[in-house]
């Protein structure tokens, strides 16, 4: 069970949150066309490794938090408010070959 250190509420269990997916995708401009919106809605990298993602603190402050989570170990590296930048660790997690989690864009 993941524990998320909410900047507003403190350390809380994942049951208080709703997952909202990849936080690195950006909604295209309204005139960007079908392809761009298709990618925005459907295309995801699905990495094994660090993942920057939205967690909505539904049973708390109602803020969308940017969480850097390792998809294999569920380790949470960082939690930030929606507008803040987060750092994706450069070092590979123990047990994960470096090659396998490259290419995760910084949010």
């Amino acid at each position: 069970m993941i524990r998320i250190d909410c900047p507003s509420c403190g350390g809380r269990d994942e049951v208080e949150f709703a997952y909202r997916g990849d936080a690195t995708v950006v909604r295209p401009a309204g005139d960007a066309g079908e392809e761009a919106f298709h990618d925005f809605v459907y295309r995801r990298a699905n990495p094994r490794g660090w993942h920057v993602e939205w967690w909505y603190h539904q049973a708390g402050c109602r803020q969308f938090l940017k969480v850097v989570r390792h998809t294999m170990t569920h380790e949470v590296h960082a939690v930030a408010r929606a507008g803040d930048r987060v750092e994706v660790p450069a070092a590979e997690h123990t047990g994960v070959p470096a090659a396998e989690h490259k290419g995760v864009p910084a949010a």
């Binding site: 524990r3 919106f37 109602r62 170990t73």
Partner: protein, 974 residues
């Protein structure tokens, strides 16, 4: 003579008290401190069950959680619990248990004939034997298998007991209360940090019994005196989850006939630990040899436990078959307690323990093996042969055969936390490697054996977990015990050599799986069901892996092991459900007018978490339909009032509120004048309709949004998402005000005449307060917002008031409407009115429909971006042949329609659409309904059939406009 196998002294059972229990209907006696298994052995009961598949006679094999055979149905009636391990059931006065999977009785089991057709029941037999013909599966094979294979029967009555759910936090969690766990808890506890210790047994430090009891009692006393240490006995940690969160099951009242008042039967713990110490011990493993499942064959450590802990002789004459010196200590313990020793069979040529045994006068067959067992329902002897000497074996008389193939550290929980394992040549088993999480393994779980060494290892782990020094702890005394093994897994010969005793999986089954291509350990496991029983292969998992390794021509360590997953031992559904049962499963939400509805005698229905009045029966009504039709008629012809407080309400404020709503809805709100409301449609980003509702502009920078009852939460989250993450630059603030505002809809031709009498400070005439107008006013001094909006299709007003004023305003409306015979109407009449009007709800906006599907394509603004705009134009979503909203009427007006009916061309069975909602109508004769229908618009005016094969119903219908009543929408404007 009862308890003829009970020793006069020894162990920690309370001989001063005798308690009675029944097994398979027969009365026996035991003592407090016994398990059902130890008490049965004390009474000389050797046969306790029949095997899962082959119905072979089985006896008690272990003394703890690894027990594969001795499973019982515990208790009777509603409390009957199948597959409980007799080795873990604490004896209590009046206990009733029954053996499983035997018919008609345990001794005379007719289905043991399965043994004769065993060749048919080999690995993968489900897949092979019963594949053809397909129709035979349901009629013949499945009933046959269900009759013959299986474990215990669950009770069919509701569980009368309560189960608790607990959450706990600690700095150091110690899993296991053996000597290593106690040492770890002592060291960590002394440092002052919060410590929890969970032990599945009802006794802590059981391994010290008969060894260093002084150290044990001193340790327990010290721990009990530490306020920062919580000791949980009878608590099995069944799973390790992310970030040092573990799940544990505490058996609070399983050791009594029924829980006391206000006492739960079990507690389900979720424990969040800073650091975890795995002091989970080790499980002894057996050796596969022909007929190694006969009652009387027992793990060596278990046999010693029955002697040392329970003061019970597991037999009169014991033979040991072991490949390691530590197992000899088990035999010596038995010998010292008066059990006659038949000898030792050891595949090794020589060892220190062999010499020690000979010095004790024990016969040792070195470089030998057990090639078979004798006896029928109980062991009478074992056949012993020198390794390599074909055909010449000696029958050695014995009624208990102690087996030890070495130990397997209990790494299950550590590996669930992704701790890698390493192969230990000394143990010929897996030991934990470096932990990924802040975790420590200690004692036998870490491959460290002997009480003294294990305690020192536990102290080291406790120190590592708490930062305290470990050296202060005194260590217990122990006897030399060397667990170094000669890897020895299987004795080949004629007869079934089991590698999974519970699931009746033999070494030959594993080889068959390998031959048929199931060579991966995970495949072999599933093909043979090896390690898939309730014991999870604790004593035989590695043995089967070794057989597979040999078949593959590889080493055991190269074959690996199957992934260990929760649960390490079975957990009842009651504990998992905990307190989330019945009405406690989800919150119940009540309207502020709920008490009035109750007094009025409303029939209620659930709408998500809400409880809403379905209708209000009156004495004149014959049935529910009479009530619904009467209420709907009042709304169409006079006046009626409905509690709509459950609608979702969101307050949107800020300089950019209008821009924000423009981007969220398909239509425009920035041009909505203050004091007006507008119907809005919201899409998901993928172009599908998400929700609808009215939005009112209360000020330039202040909107009041309503959502459907069901989507109040999701719409709020949707808005927050776009506001916080997509357009954070917008100056907008959102607040959910669903519970803050009560709301009531007053509908009908007499609606205005009704509210005119009570609205203060507002002219509600048609000229001053037209359709879709919004304004503040008061009713009996209470602040209200008045909205001229209509869901029913009649002249209607919605009055919202802060929840605390709801009853005052509701009463005023009823009083004012009395002259017009006002009726309250419930959700059923609300549904009737909206179907007649052709308004859509969740039945149509079901997450699959587009705006065009439900006839709302005109609600798309021409200019500007909004959520879902781009993808709503995809070819698949704009295909004109998509199912579209239509109305349906039976040709014979008396015919009944049903929701879910399929629409077909007459005489065909190909479904072209489905009925989403049906009702009896008040403005029209008979039943009407809404449907989603392919090429729906083109089919208006045509005839089809509505079919419900489940009900045997086939109705001729005509397809009509979905707007049955007032399609020009004139009534709302009068």
């Amino acid at each position: 003579m009862t308890q003829m196998f009970r020793m006069a002294s020894g162990g920690i059972v309370d001989r001063s008290r005798t308690i009675g229990f029944r097994f398979d209907g027969r009365a026996y006696q035991g003592h407090p401190g016994d398990t059902l298994a130890s008490a049965l052995l004390a009474n000389g009961v050797r046969l306790v069950g029949r095997s899962f598949k082959l119905h072979r006679p089985r006896g008690i094999f272990a003394a703890g959680a690894e027990e594969p055979n001795a499973l019982a149905e515990l208790r009777t009636g509603a409390r009957r619990e199948p597959n409980t391990r007799m080795t873990q059931i604490e004896l209590y006065d009046g206990l009733e248990a029954a053996s499983q999977n035997r018919w008609p009785s345990l001794r005379w089991d007719l289905l043991s004939l399965n043994g004769l057709i065993a060749p048919l029941l080999s690995a993968g037999f489900y897949y092979k034997t019963f594949m053809w013909p397909a129709s035979f599966w349901e009629k013949v094979y499945e009933p046959l298998i269900r009759r013959s294979a299986g474990l215990g029967r669950a009770s069919r009555e509701a569980d009368p007991d309560r189960y608790d759910t607990m959450q706990a936090h600690c700095d150091v969690l110690v899993i296991g209360g053996g000597v290593a766990g106690l040492a770890a808890a002592l060291v960590a506890g002394a440092s002052g940090v919060r410590v929890m210790l969970c032990e599945q047994d009802f006794v802590l430090g059981a391994g010290l019994i008969g060894e260093d009891e002084a150290w044990r009692s001193a340790a327990l006393e010290r721990l009990a005196g530490m306020a920062n240490v919580t000791l949980l006995a009878r608590t099995n940690v069944f799973g390790a989850y992310d970030a040092n969160v573990v799940g544990a099951l505490e058996r609070v009242a399983d050791h009594v006939a029924e829980p006391g008042a206000f006492v739960p039967r079990q507690r389900y713990w979720t424990i969040r630990a800073g650091r975890v110490v795995h002091a989970t011990g080790a499980y002894e493993r057996f050796i596969a040899f022909p007929d190694n499942d006969r009652p009387g064959v027992m793990l060596a450590g278990a046999a010693a436990t029955y002697v040392a802990r329970y003061g019970v002789h597991p037999g009169r004459r014991a033979l040991l078959f072991a490949n390691n010196d530590a197992a000899y200590q088990s035999l010596f313990t038995m010998q010292d307690a008066g059990v006659t020793v038949a000898g030792v069979v050891d595949p090794r040529a020589d060892s220190a323990a062999q010499a020690a045994a000979r010095a004790r006068g024990i016969t040792v067959w070195s470089a030998s093996q057990v090639v078979g067992t004798a006896g029928s329902l109980a062991l009478s002897g074992a056949r012993v042969a020198r390794i390599g000497s074909a055909g010449t074996d000696t029958l050695v008389a014995a009624d208990v055969l102690c087996v030890s193939g070495g130990i397997n550290p209990a790494v299950q929980l550590a590996t669930q936390s992704r701790t890698a394992v390493a192969w230990s040549e000394r143990l010929a088993s897996w030991v934990p490697g470096a932990a990924l999480l802040p975790q420590f393994s200690a004692g036998a779980a870490n491959g460290v054996t002997g009480l003294r060494e294990a305690a020192a290892d536990g102290a080291r782990a406790g120190a590592g977990a708490s930062g305290a020094p470990a050296d202060a702890l005194g260590l217990p005394e122990d006897r030399p015990s060397d667990v170094t093994v000669l890897p020895f897994w299987e004795v080949k010969g004629s007869g079934k050599a089991f590698v999974d005793i519970q699931d009746d999986v033999t070494a030959d089954d594993i080889r068959l799986a390998a031959r048929e291509g199931y060579k991966h350990i995970e495949h072999a496991k599933r093909y043979t069901t090896h390690t898939m029983g309730t014991d999870q292969g604790k004593s035989g998992g590695l043995v089967g892996a070794a057989v597979l390794a040999e078949a593959r021509g590889e080493r055991v360590q190269d074959v690996g092991m199957p992934t260990f997953r929760p649960f390490t031992s079975p957990v009842t559904w009651g504990a998992i459900a905990g307190t989330s049962i019945g009405k406690h499963f989800a919150p119940t939400r009540l309207s502020p007018l709920h008490e009035w509805h109750v007094k009025r005698g409303a029939v209620f229905m659930d709408a998500g978490q809400w409880v809403r009045p379905a209708y209000y029966p009156a004495p004149v009504d014959g049935d529910g339909w009479d009530s619904v039709l009467r209420e709907a008629r009042a709304a169409r012809r006079g006046v009626a009032v409905c509690d709509v407080s459950t609608l979702g309400k969101i307050d949107v404020q800020g300089r950019d509120a209008a821009v924000f709503l423009d981007r969220l809805y398909t239509n425009t709100f920035s041009n909505l004048p203050v004091g007006r409301a507008r119907y809005g449609l919201m899409l998901r980003e993928d172009g599908i309709v998400f929700d609808d509702g009215t939005t009112s502009r209360l000020a330039e920078d202040h909107f009041f949004v309503t959502t459907t009852t069901a989507n109040a939460g999701p719409v709020m989250q949707h808005m927050e998402f776009y506001l916080q993450t997509v357009w954070p630059d917008l100056d907008v603030t959102l607040a959910s005000v669903t519970d803050q505002w009560a709301a009531m809809s007053i509908a009908g031709p007499k609606a205005r005449a009704t509210i005119e009498r009570i609205i203060e400070g507002l002219d509600v005439s048609n000229e001053a307060f037209g359709f879709m107008a919004v304004a503040d006013a008061t009713v009996k001094g209470c602040p209200v917002r008045v909205f001229r909006i209509s869901f029913s299709g009649e002249l209607a007003y919605e009055i919202a008031t802060p929840a605390g004023h709801a009853q005052t305003v509701w009463n005023a409306v009823l009083e004012a409407g009395e002259a017009f015979k006002i009726e309250p109407y419930g959700v059923e009449a609300l549904g009737l009115l909206r179907i007649e009007k052709g308004h859509v709800t969740g039945a149509e906006l079901n997450g699959q429909t587009t705006a065009a599907d439900v006839g709302l394509e005109k609600m798309f603004k021409k200019r500007g971006d909004f959520v879902g705009k781009v993808l709503s134009q995809r070819p698949g979503l704009t295909d004109p042949s998509r199912p579209r909203l239509v109305g349906v009427r039976p040709v014979m007006r008396g015919d009944q329609l049903r929701a879910g009916m399929h629409l077909v061309e007459s005489g065909t069975t190909h479904s072209l659409g489905w009925m989403t909602a049906v009702t009896r109508a008040v403005e029209l004769e008979g039943w009407i309904g809404l449907a989603m229908l392919r090429d729906g618009v083109a089919r208006i005016g045509s005839r089809m059939q509505a079919a419900s094969p489940l009900h045997g119903a086939l109705v001729d219908v005509e397809i009509v406009s979905p707007h049955f009543v007032d399609p020009e929408n004139a009534r709302v404007r009068v």
